[in-house]
């Protein structure tokens, strides 16, 4: 008789056995106790050094000696030169892969960069750097949101032309020595508290090319101070043009990521 299989549906009877599933996130249970093992992805220290010159006005560094493969997926290209953002610069300095100097060829130490992190021109903040470091060390390819990897990529991607590229495209004309100016202008236009995604992120991919990066796999927004409201998430999503958005939270060095995805539960039979 079928009745046997049903049983009463009081919550006590039915729900308790929901509990004996294996905890899917049991693995990170211990993580915080031993920060040397898991909390930070392992970073490889490099022997070969590249060299870059920090430009205070731009809040970026110009790479002057390239060594190693990282430049395939790091830094933006403008008129044949590679410029690295604050987080890219500091990341490779921490790895010992980049030697940074100022305009007078004096070495800049990591400590000096730590001090710079929150200054307005870097367009960065400490938590954003931590998020960058976390993903970068896992091999993700990360660019500032809507910053073209190269000017070629502007032509290859309709999307970026529509957004910011037009402004940049105009500047291609009188490129030459003005390139630095155009980039710093790009930074200057960023308002500090403007609600917009922070990073364009691609999955680890050895075939990645700055000249044809394609659409990012997802966009990342760093939650600053408070949990974004539904309305704020919607504002962010509008700028994503269908690309998934992840929201990142950094608390005391611990980086966590969340998806707030619009769904539609199916109508069941």
């Amino acid at each position: 008789m079928e009745g046997n299989k049903w049983g009463y549906s009081s919550n006590e009877d039915t729900s308790n056995d929901d509990d004996d599933v294996n905890l899917p996130n049991a693995s990170d249970e211990e993580e915080d106790l031993h920060f040397t093992s898991h909390s930070l992805p392992k970073s490889q220290f490099r022997n070969i050094k590249s060299k870059a010159r920090w430009n205070e006005e731009m809040g970026m560094a110009e790479v002057i000696e390239k060594n190693g493969k990282m430049w395939v997926s790091t830094g933006i290209v403008r008129s044949g030169k590679i410029y690295t953002s604050f987080e890219e610069t500091l990341y490779f300095m921490e790895l010992g892969a980049l030697h940074l100097v100022d305009s007078e060829n004096r070495s800049i130490s990591i400590i000096e960069m730590y001090e710079k992190v929150s200054s307005r021109m870097t367009g960065c903040c400490w938590e954003l750097f931590e998020a960058y470091r976390h993903l970068k060390s896992l091999g993700y390819i990360i660019g500032r949101h809507n910053f073209a990897w190269s000017l070629k990529s502007i032509r290859s991607s309709q999307k970026q032309v529509a957004l910011e590229g037009t402004e940049e495209s105009k500047q291609i004309v009188d490129m030459g020595s003005k390139v630095e100016h155009s980039i710093s202008k790009l930074f200057g236009e960023l308002k500090i508290n403007e609600l917009k995604p922070d990073f364009d992120i691609y999955l680890p991919d050895s075939r990645f090319r700055k000249s044809s990066p394609g659409d990012p796999n997802f966009l990342l927004y760093l939650s600053r101070g408070h949990l974004p409201s539904r309305a704020e998430i919607e504002t962010l999503e509008k700028q994503c043009e269908g690309i998934p958005l992840k929201i990142c939270l950094v608390t005391e060095g611990r980086v966590s990521f969340f998806s707030f995805d619009k769904v539609e539960l199916p109508a069941l039979p």
């Binding site: 729900s15 056995d17 999955l203 796999n217 409201s229 707030f260 039979p269």
Partner: protein, 246 residues
């Protein structure tokens, strides 16, 4: 997360799924509906719930459709059932198969939908939101139960809880002012807490944002203008998703 059908081994899980397919929830609910209509079932208000007495047939159907809970009273051939306000109003207003009186011995006829709406609203301030959320899920034939055990408002099953584990833990929020309903999801720690707890029991957090679209809740008429936005909130692990498409 894929549905987790219940059973000791893969074979009995398959069977549970097959049985659920053979007897979809919509069919069970329409059986319940016609059975309650035929027997002219009438419940009565008792504070913030509704009681009713039913025959063995309705007892079986209420259980299969997962409405309410039986109250154990020894009385021959009569079974007492207790419904939540949302369940009772759904049977009355949406399925039109239950009448409700103000008390057992009332000489007056059953209360109309509008009177019931006012009564439930006076008993539970959040009733308009919770009813919208409840009926939204029920209308899609999901089984809805209280989520109190998991620190959420509701939990939903794709069929009877005897056959399948619940897939979502639900929080009901207001679309306009986040968190003004139940104070939930105002801070990151609550997001961490809820996703972690639900993740531990293999459920996904589903948030239903109920939008009144500028209507007040004075009259039942405004209910049709309410809309619901569904969002899942889940943790994402960059360590595990390096190669998978997201």
């Amino acid at each position: 997360m894929a549905p987790r059908w219940k059973g000791k081994d893969a074979k009995s899980k398959k069977e549970a799924e097959a049985e659920a397919l053979k007897e979809p929830m919509s069919k069970i609910i329409s059986q319940l509906q016609s059975s309650l209509v035929q027997s002219n079932t009438c419940g009565f208000l008792s504070d913030n719930c509704v009681h009713l007495t039913v025959q063995a047939e309705q007892l079986d159907l209420l259980d299969k459709a997962c409405f309410g809970r039986p109250v154990r009273i020894v009385e021959k051939d009569m079974y007492w059932f207790q419904l939540t306000v949302e369940e009772a109003f759904y049977l009355c207003y949406s399925l039109k198969c239950l009448k409700i009186k103000i008390n057992v011995g009332a000489d007056t006829g059953p209360l109309n939908d509008e009177e019931l709406w006012h009564y439930f609203r006076s008993k539970k301030e959040t009733f308009p939101y919770f009813y919208k959320a409840y009926s939204h899920l029920r209308m899609k034939n999901w089984v809805v139960r209280s989520g109190a055990q998991y620190g959420v408002d509701l939990i939903v099953y794709r069929h009877h809880p005897a056959r399948v584990h619940s897939e979502y833990g639900v929080l009901v929020l207001s679309h306009d002012k986040d968190g003004d309903l139940n104070g939930r999801l105002r801070v990151w720690s609550d997001v961490h807490c809820t996703t972690r707890l639900l993740g531990g029991v293999a459920k996904t957090l589903l948030v239903l944002y109920v939008n009144k679209n500028g209507n007040n809740d004075e009259s039942l008429l405004c209910l049709t203008n309410y809309t619901v936005e569904e969002r899942t909130i889940s943790r994402w692990s960059p360590e595990q998703c390096r190669e998978r498409s997201i």
